[in-house]
């Protein structure tokens, strides 16, 4: 929803060399150069007007038809079809004289250059498909006026729609045809291409009656941003679109969606109508999601049961319950043709999914079944291979445990999704306040998409709960309807269900009632304090609430915490408190957001700390007895002041009031880590994971903890655990590869991970840029270094605490390449930047590290050593073992570059005893150019060997 408009578009495009209109002297124009004033004043002229009928009549009188067009190299001969998206012509290719079909997209469909680019890219990808039952695309191009079109094989047999009546007579012909289509779709899926719009109109027939699938996925790029109703109208009959698409068109599509469509087409061929029909598109889709598909034999009793089963298996509203691949469908159809038994008869078995190919960012995360499979594997892996016992979470599941899943947004307007999320969020928060209940944290449950049919048992298993809460929200003008039910996960029975139809302002009361009802149903004890906390609405101002929810959404979406997102988050929260100055929760979030911004190095100024504290104070004033302000105070104390004592005491207060809040458990873990109590840290993180088992950051933090402590078997399985939940996450994939680098000096896995990521999704480079550079340095690959450098964001590498500006990175690369001159220039520039930063943030220890390294590289020994030591002063290990470890190591490198070998080795020997988030492991010591000046020295080699061992921890 927050699509930013860049300033020029918000006001107007600016003309470089304005000229006045020769007729009227005005200077405002439309893009094409037309004078707006003239176009406007023509409305005043005393000419007669024309009705539409008269206009069209006159238009038709002269043959200036579009069909005399040349589009690219094609002579348009005649129009053969017209749809919501564009027009299809029969055309002749100029040079070869071959007859082809040309499809021109309506100009008003292409609303931006970006759409056009994507359309082209997708079309070209489809053009690469080579299969006898896929209509080949020959060329994708644009006319002179910029209208996109593409040419394809001309199918003389018309579409399936036309052929359907004849086919219906012989069901075997239908099946034979669809088996071929299924195989074709399987081929496309193998290449990672979804069709997204399978319907009879898109299956054409050639002269021999062979089916050819056309129009792959192309509709998506044109309609991606349209709301569902318009999409459905544009695409024609909605009866073939998978119901999960009803929630957010285009985003939710998986292979399973295509399979649904195949089933629907087969249904249509055999019965003469699609599975669902209705008065309008939206009603059809909703029916499809809410009710099971009609049985084939209820419409065509002469067909046999196996065929009915196959079709039903495609039309399951739960995507997991369908054939897991188009190939499986094709095989079953072929079995049927040969009168052999079919697979689909065995319900409940899902086949292993095929390797998922991501083509673009909007493709959804793996279907729940595959995740479950993955997490089962991860558990087994831990138990077998890890010498270090890791809690597996297969402890007994308490009865009084629930997960509140995302609610369904039943209002047609997708913008209402945020409000729906808010309802679920508040119910979750209310329940989480009850100490007698185990309530799973929000981050974990938000991964289960609303609307899609949930496999309750599986989800409950994954989350470790005995009960699940589902619901839906519908909003119209000033009223709201909330429905909710409590489900016993083992038996799938509804223990409680209720529906509330109230004025909008009552929404908070509804949330309270639902929470109390559920608690009551589970016989959870409710203390008076808890009761009163639940009864208090977060705010009474709906606009403030809206901003707050949107801010939370921004925070939830980030997988790497990007400065722009953080700005957006604080902006929204500021608005929230502006609209309601008593909005305690918003102040708490604001304090946390500011604290994070400071902590992550986005803004390390006292001003930022002041903002965090101001928000915290406001929250504490508003609710000194509430848990959330104390949690916020703990975060501020930790992130801004490194004041562990205060943080821990605030957490102790918060813990009573927020018994189910994952961060209340996780924060002490981080404190432990900084204090050097790594065992405690690991233990607490695992406890936090219990309440938030699918919180990717938490899982990542756990994995990183093992990694930095050089406990690599544990780290490997912990990274695998993350991948089980977020298999696509680029940074995790690289980290998993880094285990091999760090533990065995093997760069290959990390290298491959990076290459794969970049191939699958070039835009993911942002999240792995620093790893890429680092790897390239270890591999001494100059070309790779160059590529990695090119992909760095302009501000350089902003990691947790460390900022390495662009010139610094360039300097590292140049130095590693042996380019002395380039290195010098780069480090000089880096020096300038670091000085600037230090002027603004004079106590930023890590900045001194980078400054010192730059000076060391430039041969300024004394300066470098002084700066390295200053960093150590500002951030001793005793104060913060995590960040302090970096500083220690960094000083060793400075000494090494400054030629002070003895001191370098001494420093290194110290550093090696501490867990270090950067630069220090067996692999790094062996491979990274940082350590080159020390190579060959037997003392160094001894330390390298020692680094193979894990850090000796308390």
């Amino acid at each position: 929803m927050n699509k930013p408009i860049s300033p020029p578009e918000s006001l107007a495009d600016l003309i470089e060399n304005p000229t006045q209109c020769p007729r009227c002297g005005a200077i405002a124009r439309l893009d094409h150069g037309s004078c707006i004033n003239c176009l406007l004043s023509t409305g005043l002229e005393a000419q007669a007007e024309t009705s539409r009928e008269a206009f069209e009549r006159i238009l038709a009188e002269d043959n200036v038809a579009d069909n005399e067009w040349r589009l690219g190299h094609y002579e348009i001969l005649e129009e053969i079809g017209r749809g919501g998206m564009g027009v299809i012509y029969r055309a002749r290719q100029q040079h070869s004289r071959r007859i082809v079909a040309v499809k021109r997209i309506f100009a008003h469909q292409v609303n931006s250059h970006e759409t056009l680019v994507r359309f082209r890219r997708e079309a070209e990808a489809v053009a690469s498909l080579d299969h006898p039952n896929i209509l080949p695309i020959y060329e994708v191009s644009e006319s002179e006026e910029g209208l996109p079109f593409f040419s394809m094989k001309y199918a003389t047999g018309g579409s399936l729609r036309a052929a359907a009546p004849a086919l219906r007579v012989e069901p075997r012909d239908c099946v034979r045809l669809m088996a071929k289509v299924a195989r074709a779709i399987a081929y496309a899926h193998d290449k990672g291409i979804l069709h997204r719009d399978l319907q009879p109109g898109n299956i054409l027939l050639d002269g021999n009656g062979e089916p050819m699938v056309s129009d792959f996925g192309l509709a998506k790029w044109l309609d991606e941003n349209n709301d569902l109703t318009r999409t459905l109208e544009t695409l024609g009959t909605p009866g073939y679109i998978a119901p999960e698409q009803a929630e957010s068109p285009g985003v939710n599509l998986t292979f399973a969606s295509d399979i649904y469509s195949l089933g629907a087409i087969l249904f249509y061929l055999l019965t003469g109508r699609p599975p669902f029909v209705g008065a309008n598109a939206l009603s059809v889709i909703h029916q499809a999601g809410a009710t099971p598909a009609p049985r084939l034999r209820s419409l065509a009793p002469s067909l046999d049961r196996d065929l009915e089963t196959i079709v039903a298996h495609c039309l399951e509203s739960d995507p997991d319950a369908r054939y897991q691949s188009a190939e499986a469908l094709g095989i079953d159809l072929e079995h049927w043709l040969r009168h052999e038994p079919i697979q689909a008869r065995h319900t409940g078995v899902f086949a292993r999914g095929r390797k998922w190919m991501r083509r673009n960012r909007t493709t959804t995360v793996l279907v729940a079944s595959l995740i479950a499979l993955g997490s089962v594997i991860a558990v087994m892996f831990w138990e077998k291979e890890s010498p270090h016992p890791m809690p597996t979470g297969i402890a007994a599941i308490p009865y009084k445990s629930i997960a509140v899943l995302p609610f369904d947004n039943l209002t047609a307007d997708p913008e209402n999704a945020s409000f729906t999320d808010g309802v679920q969020d508040q119910i979750l928060n209310n329940l989480a306040k009850i100490a007698d209940l185990k309530v799973i944290s929000r981050t974990s449950v938000m991964q289960y998409k609303a609307g899609a049919k949930h496999n309750i048992r599986q989800i409950a298993n994954e989350l470790g709960v005995a009960h699940v809460v589902e619901g839906s929200v519908q909003r119209a003008a000033n009223r709201v309807r909330v429905s909710s039910q409590l489900i016993d996960a083992k038996t799938d029975r509804h223990l409680w269900a209720e529906s509330y139809d109230r004025p909008l302002d009552d929404v908070f009361a509804i949330q309270t009632e639902i929470a109390k009802a559920i608690a009551g149903q589970l016989q959870a004890k409710l203390s008076p304090a808890e009761k009163s906390a639940i009864e208090q609405p977060p705010t009474t101002n709906l606009i403030a609430y809206d901003r707050y929810l949107r801010a939370k959404k921004v925070r939830a979406v980030q997988t790497a915490r990007v400065p722009a997102d953080m700005r957006e988050e604080t902006r929204l929260l500021n608005q929230a408190v502006a609209y309601d100055s008593t909005f305690l929760l918003a102040y708490c979030e604001l304090a946390q957001a500011h604290a994070y911004a400071y902590h992550l190095g986005v803004d390390r100024t006292p001003a930022r700390v002041a903002l965090a504290k101001a928000a915290r104070d406001a929250a504490l004033r508003l609710g000194p007895d509430r848990g959330e302000p104390h949690l916020a105070a703990a975060e501020v104390a930790f992130h801004c002041d490194l004041d562990y004592a205060t943080a821990l005491s605030e957490i102790a207060i918060a813990r009573d009031k927020l018994p189910n809040d994952g961060s209340v458990i996780a924060l002490p873990a981080y404190i432990h880590r900084r204090q050097g109590h790594w065992e405690n840290c690991a233990r607490d993180l695992e406890r936090a994971v219990q309440l938030d088992p699918r919180n990717v950051w938490l899982l990542q933090d756990a994995a990183e903890t093992y990694h930095h402590a050089r406990q690599f078997p544990e780290a490997a399985s912990a990274w695998d655990r993350v991948l089980a939940v977020a298999p696509e996450d680029p940074s995790t994939r690289v980290w998993r590869g880094l285990v091999d680098l760090d533990s065995r000096a093997d760069t290959q896995p990390a290298y491959e991970a990076i290459q794969n990521i970049l191939t699958e999704d070039p835009s993911a480079v942002d999240s792995i840029a620093e790893h890429w550079l680092y790897l390239a340095l270890c591999r001494r690959d100059a070309a790779e270094m160059g590529r990695a450098l090119a992909s760095l964001p302009p501000e350089g590498i902003v990691r947790r605490d460390l900022l390495m500006p662009r010139p610094f990175c360039e300097g590292l690369a140049a130095r590693a390449r042996g380019d002395a001159k380039g290195a010098e220039a780069a480090f000089i520039a880096a020096h300038v930047e670091m000085e600037k930063i230090l002027r603004e943030q004079p106590d930023y220890a890590q900045a001194f590290c980078v400054l010192g390294l730059s000076d060391a590289a430039l041969g300024r020994k004394e300066d470098a050593i002084r700066e390295g030591r200053r960093a150590l002063e500002l951030l001793p290990v005793a104060k913060d073992m995590m960040a302090g470890g970096v500083v220690l190591t960094n000083l060793a490198i400075i000494y090494a570059w400054a030629g002070e070998k003895d001191r370098a080795l001494e420093q290194l020997a110290t550093a090696i005893r501490f867990p270090s988030p950067e630069f220090l492991s067996y692999g790094q010591l062996k491979l990274h150019p940082f350590w080159d000046p020390l190579r060959g020295d037997p003392r160094f080699e001894k330390l390298v060997e020692e680094s193979k061992k894990p850090v000796a921890l308390k």
Binding site: P4, S10, L40, S41, G43, Q575
Partner: protein, 251 residues
Amino acid sequence: MNVEAEPRVFTTTRWSLVLAGANSEGDQQNKAAEALAELCRTYWRPAFSYVCRRGYSSEDAEDLTQDFFLMILETNWLQQADHGRGRFRSLLLKSLQNFLHNAADKNRTLKRGGSVQFVSWDAWMREAPSQLSIPARALDSLAPERLFDLRWAATVVEHALRRLREECEGKGRLRLFEALRDHLAAEHGDISYADLGTGLGVAETVVKKQLYNLRQRYRSLLREEVSHTVEKPADVDDEIRHLCAALASAA
């Protein structure tokens, strides 16, 4: 509803529907709500430009504009608005000014009323990007109210052109439209009919005839667009003149 020589040209205008529905119930109110929603959907951009020009950041302007239209569509706007029944444009601007004035302070709550769907902001924004261009120095010196009018004028014209284009495209005459669209306001002397004829593969006379045809239709569409924002057909000319004046003053 309106007494006119050519009743078929002026169907009941949206604004007149809105005005009629202001104090009514049931079907008439629903029609009014729909008409208002349609108007807002078309004319949001001038409002947005105004807010930006008043100094808000893009993101804040988006939020404010959205809230403003939410308020318009959700509440009984007309009842609360000034009862001088002006044109939609002037009433909208005045309301917007008041809205911004109040936006800074006070708790804001959505008031009840109406029966309209929510603002689908994304859909509005994505429809037909606007193509207004003006010199930088002019932009800087424009008062927000002038920019509002300028944008309004541009919206009206663009809308009419878009509809003309769709009508042509629907009849397979897109090529013709593309060739002639830049000449819709031109004087006879400026156009080389011969050249156009050659490009299109038809005689000069055909070009002249179709250009005239397009112009007339465009003019109808333009006037129809404007009429939707005024109460009576007689106001159309006046409204156009006002917008022309706004354009002229931008020079």
